[in-house]
Amino acid sequence: MKIPILKLGDVLLASIQFELTDGAALEFQSDLIQAAESTRAQGVVVDITALEVVDTFIARVINDTGSMLQLVGARVVVCGIQPPVALTLAEMGRELIGVETALNLEQGLEKVRRMIALDVHELRESRN
């Protein structure tokens, strides 16, 4: 079952609604990159509220997705990490999550918009 990706202006929103198998995760990654590229999205927010388990593999997929999206010009924010999941990730190792995070969709959108604005600002600065 494909994960729906929504477009909100120049930002893409994707909400994972159920536990992901490894295959589904990689498929989602691929869908997301393609969508970001084809819509020239400036930002992407991924909501993982429904994920009850995030292990090192999924963490890596998340980080890789962030890097890939950056390459096609989009900033990424992951939101909805559950407290037990956050705790487990912190226990497994430091800095396992290499992408920006936010509490929920609302904060996630705010954050990604800030990041986009900062990018634009930096671009202007470097031109002067």
């Binding site: 490894d22 593999f57 890596r60 800095e95 396992l96």
Partner: protein, 128 residues
């Protein structure tokens, strides 16, 4: 309880979580156990194609306990000591994910030789 690890790790980790919940483990512990199972079972999948996950209730009057044994008949882990070393937490190319899992449980043992690998994990909490 025996769970076949064949196409994904989701079934095994959900089974572990269910048992843990039933025994009275809190949300954080349930997530730890599920995540640890996920890491180890994925290993079996990746290097052996499939495996078996056995989950036992080891509770007694003084404590609640779970034991999980993940077994596969794959090529084995050539250097168990190195695999357990901390450089592997972020899952590099050899990413066994085992050191990460080890941090989540009370007890962690690995036996591996070509043709047979067995990882035993235990989680225990005293009853209040």
């Amino acid at each position: 309880m025996d769970v076949a690890v064949e196409n994904d790790v989701v079934t095994a980790r959900q089974a572990g979580r269910e048992l843990a919940r039933g025994l009275g483990f809190g949300a954080a512990d349930q997530t730890r156990l599920a995540t640890a199972i996920s890491e180890v079972a994925r290993n079996a999948l990746k290097y052996a194609g499939k495996g078996v996950c056995r989950i036992y209730d080891t509770s007694d009057a003084g404590a609640i306990g779970v034991e999980v044994v993940v077994e596969d008949s794959g090529p084995g882990i050539p250097d168990v000591i190195r695999a357990m070393a901390d450089g592997y937490t972020t899952g590099g190319s050899l990413g066994y994910g085992l050191p990460a899992a080890k941090r989540l449980v009370s007890d962690f043992q690995v036996e591996s030789e070509p043709g047979h690998t067995q990882v035993t994990m235990r989680m225990r909490r005293p009853r209040l």
